[in-house]
């Protein structure tokens, strides 16, 4: 309901955006794959009113009794500006907070820390030498003393030297000490997922590797508002959190973001588009390919129409953004699948060992007799992210569309 109202509001504002805000047939976009899904998305909250009505927003300032929505301001921000805004609030409100990593001081290779060293000083916002294992260990140490340690790993592809610290130390810190030592103040941020030209080592989605590290939380935002609220929650959560930001969204995702201090809940998925015939579950960049796939399904362009049976075109697919990958919101997902009876999971990481397998197993257990089709996973292939082949490796709107149709007609 809210989303439909949003859509009709957006129709009148949509002239600012490139394409496709209408409910007539979608024209096939000019190539360049990924960012076209993002560019044509209607999921972004681009007005102040819609931004302030983001579901689950919890204002964190003293004036939170000020529930007159009209009283709060928003500012147009992309994803890296939203990161920066969250970090700025954390640093301003928490004297123990420090932000560190490689190339942080001049603003960061993705500009997430622009101006913070100037504003808060080099003792609180600083470069470390080039050592991920060092960054993670150092952050754990800081956090063990009750300080707020916000570490950055420059690319998620380089998180592996820190794996020992994160899995053997951070994840087990509270448990191994009988609850006496803990490192809730640790947050590790890393840019993740494909970017169009990253090749093997600037495109990975390593969230699956951490599923076995109970004690860690893993969060992946899809948009600037989500990023700011989830990051502030992650920083303040009493558990160590790995916060992976889809790098292709740093510039291309833009919303009106509330400038105040707010939180969005961890371990709560969000239903973006309600539906009844199939549950489509994903996180990060593929949220937009999924959205695009649903538009293709409901209003196919002439080129695809012959391949999309008319009977399927009226299918109402429920699109869910998982947001927190670990621990994940099993309630929302299972409740949805019990209603729709079909589940398709989409993620960029490879099929084998990917998060989708874990979810499929749990859903299969809890909704076995309700399911009318096997749980379908649409993922990156089990191959490294070859540069020239990226467009046929990462799941895009047409692959997702095909998987949906196959599951609907099972």
């Amino acid at each position: 309901m809210l989303v439909r109202r949003l859509r009709s509001t957006l129709l009148t504002l949509s002239r600012r955006w490139q394409t496709t805000a209408s409910n007539t047939a979608i024209e096939s976009p000019s190539a360049s794959g990924h960012s076209s899904s993002v560019a044509s998305s209607q999921l972004f909250r681009i007005t102040r009113e819609s931004a302030l009505r983001t579901p689950g927003i919890s204002w964190q300032d003293e004036e939170s009794d000020r529930n007159i929505v009209g009283g709060r301001e928003t500012r147009k921000m992309n994803l890296y500006q939203a990161v920066r805004d969250a970090l700025s609030i954390a640093l301003a409100k928490d004297d123990s907070a420090v932000v560190f990593g490689e190339d942080i001081a001049f603003g960061g290779v993705f500009r997430c820390t622009m101006g913070l060293a100037e504003e808060f000083g080099r003792e609180r916002v600083f470069n470390t030498p080039l050592t991920e294992q060092g960054i993670a260990g150092f952050g754990i140490g800081l956090a063990s003393m009750g300080h707020t340690a916000i570490a950055e790993i420059q690319f998620a592809d380089y998180i592996f030297p820190a794996f020992d610290q994160l899995v053997n130390e951070a994840a087990k810190f509270r448990y191994r000490s009988g609850g006496h030592f803990s490192i809730g103040g640790l947050t590790v941020r890393a840019p993740t997922m494909a970017v169009g030209h990253g090749g093997l080592y600037h495109s990975q989605s390593p969230e699956g590797f951490f599923m076995g590290a109970s004690g860690l939380k893993v969060v992946i935002p899809r948009s600037p508002i989500q990023c700011k609220g989830l990051l502030l929650s992650a920083i303040r959560d009493p558990n160590p959190v790995i916060f992976m930001e889809p790098k292709i969204l740093y510039r291309s995702a833009v919303e009106q973001v509330p400038i105040d201090d707010f939180a969005l809940p961890l371990s709560r998925a969000e239903i973006l588009i309600p539906g009844s015939d199939l549950t489509l579950l994903t996180w990060g960049t593929p949220v937009y390919h999924c959205e695009y796939a649903l538009r293709l399904l409901n209003s196919p362009p002439p080129s695809l129409a012959p391949l999309i049976p008319p009977s399927l075109r009226s299918a109402k697919v429920e699109l869910i953004d998982l947001r927190t990958i670990l621990p994940w919101d099993i309630e929302t997902v299972v409740e949805s699948v019990r209603r729709t009876k079909r589940l398709v999971i989409v993620h960029e990481a490879g099929m084998t060992g990917g998060v989708g397998g874990e979810i499929a197993a749990e859903v299969g257990k809890r909704a076995f007799l309700r399911l009318e089709a096997p749980v379908r996973r649409i993922t990156g292939w089990d191959v490294p992210a070859g540069l020239q082949f990226e467009k046929f490796n990462m799941p895009d709107a047409v692959r997702i569309l095909d998987g949906i149709m196959e599951t609907l007609s099972y």
Partner: protein, 442 residues
């Protein structure tokens, strides 16, 4: 203190006590003996130390030519290996690097390739000191080694464009070269991972009767990468096992935006060498003759001792970190311009050659023009070539194809059959591949 020590290390020191010598009369360290099972002499004065040079001074840098290409006082120009022909070969290769850089930087800006890194003249001197079949493991600024060894511009472009001539089959970002033929191991983006690998390569060479005492493993890395744990691991293994591994550290003052003052606190990387017990030298990296001499000697010691050797090559990164970087965001333009003027490795060597009568202005113009033409020709040719077969997306993961990859390949084949010609983005994308995606189901 003596009593407690004697409890722990009783045999030696109780003998000392029993000879009746009082503590306060122990004048020299040698008379106190050593700690048991070590050569560590005992001293009675508590004194901390923090210097490799013994007197707190900085580790010196070896240089042959000054800023004007004239040998400095006491320097020995390595005559035996500098003939006019050799000098020209050095110079041409050095000059090729900025030519390549300028063109490929612009090509990246035009969106024709996705990415590029600038290269360093210091590398040519190193390459010239190695044997052509020494195994080289590089980081990403060492295409000079490949060029020295005869890697063609066509192959450089093939890799940068990821076209079907690329031996890497279009899988990696530009400048991630590899060539079995040239004994140049495939580059990967993660930093320093090649360092412990090099220790292993060296060990393999040592074990191979055909190559032992003939070849070393040579590993390049920057001063930033040397902060990684892998640096410590590699140095430990090469020094302790040991293995004949030559560590060539390019210290160019920056790791993206991080200046070396924020990368380490000690006397940079050279100070670490003795920590591992390996022969170490620091050299002026913008003096190609000094680099060549130092690496040559380092290589000799490495082969003879069968153990790690560290050469720290001091230079300055005049370019941006890569095409994704604007270095004027973190350093002044004037600093860069000054370094380019006063400490240019190419200029210094050219002046040396001119002083020998081996080079002149006309040849300079002719060389620059020829190199530019060569690079442009290779680039124009590579630009037009198709990318590898789409099947290469799935091949080489394992030596054989397991069920999951086979199924996924077949799934994509089916999808391409269904949508490949009707969905415009796919139709256009398929055209770039040699097989146009048609060979997937073979």
């Amino acid at each position: 203190m003596m009593r407690s020590l004697s409890v722990k290390y009783s045999p030696l020191l109780t003998r000392v006590r029993s000879r009746g010598r009082a503590l306060s009369t122990q004048p020299t360290s040698s008379s106190l003996g050593c700690l048991p099972t070590t050569d560590s002499p005992v001293v009675s004065k508590l004194a901390f130390f923090n210097s490799v040079t013994g007197d707190g001074s900085k580790i010196p840098s070896y240089r042959v030519l000054d800023g004007s290409g004239i040998p400095i006082e006491g320097a020995e120009v390595p005559e035996a290996c500098i003939s006019e022909q050799f000098a020209r070969r050095l110079y041409e290769n050095m000059q090729l690097l900025p030519t390549l850089d300028n063109i490929l930087y612009n090509v990246q800006r035009q969106g024709k390739i996705s990415f590029y890194y600038g290269e360093e003249a210091a590398v040519i001197g190193s390459a010239a000191a190695l044997a052509d079949d020494d195994e080289v493991l590089a980081q990403y600024r060492e295409v000079g080694v490949l060029l020295w060894r005869g890697f063609t511009l066509d192959r450089v472009m093939a890799q940068c464009f990821g076209n079907h001539e690329d031996s890497g089959k279009g899988r990696q970002m530009p400048v991630h070269f590899g060539s079995k033929q040239h004994h140049f191991h495939q580059i990967s983006s993660p930093l320093a991972t090649q360092i412990p690998q090099a220790a292993g390569v060296g060990y393999a060479l040592k074990r191979d009767p055909e190559r032992r005492s003939k070849n070393v493993a040579c590993v390049f890395f920057g001063e930033g990468a040397a902060s990684e744990g892998d640096f410590h691991a590699g140095m430990l293994l090469a020094s302790t096992l040991p293995s004949p591994t030559l560590f060539l550290a390019r210290n160019n003052g920056f790791a993206i935006s991080t200046p070396s003052s924020q990368q380490y606190y000690g006397d940079s990387l050279s100070a670490r060498g003795p920590g591992y017990g390996v022969d170490t030298v620091r050299v002026d990296g913008n003096d190609v003759l000094a680099v060549m001499s130092a690496v040559k000697e380092g290589r000799r010691r490495c082969l003879e001792g069968g153990r790690g050797v560290l050469v720290e090559i001091m230079t300055y990164r005049v370019g941006h970190h890569s095409t994704s970087d604007d270095s004027f965001a973190y350093r002044g333009r004037q600093e860069v311009e000054n370094r380019k003027k006063i400490d240019n490795p190419i200029t210094r060597f050219r002046l040396f050659m001119e002083s020998r009568g081996w080079w002149n202005g006309t040849e300079e113009e002719e060389l620059k023009s020829r190199l530019k033409q060569d690079v442009l020709a290779a680039f124009k040719r590579a630009e037009t070539l198709k990318k590898p077969n789409l099947t290469e997306l799935f091949s080489d993961v394992y030596s054989e194809e397991p069920w999951n990859i086979r199924e996924q390949r077949e799934e994509l084949a089916g999808l391409l059959q269904k949508y490949g010609q009707v969905w415009e983005p796919w139709r256009n994308e398929l055209k770039i591949f040699e097989d146009e995606g048609k060979k997937l189901s073979d």
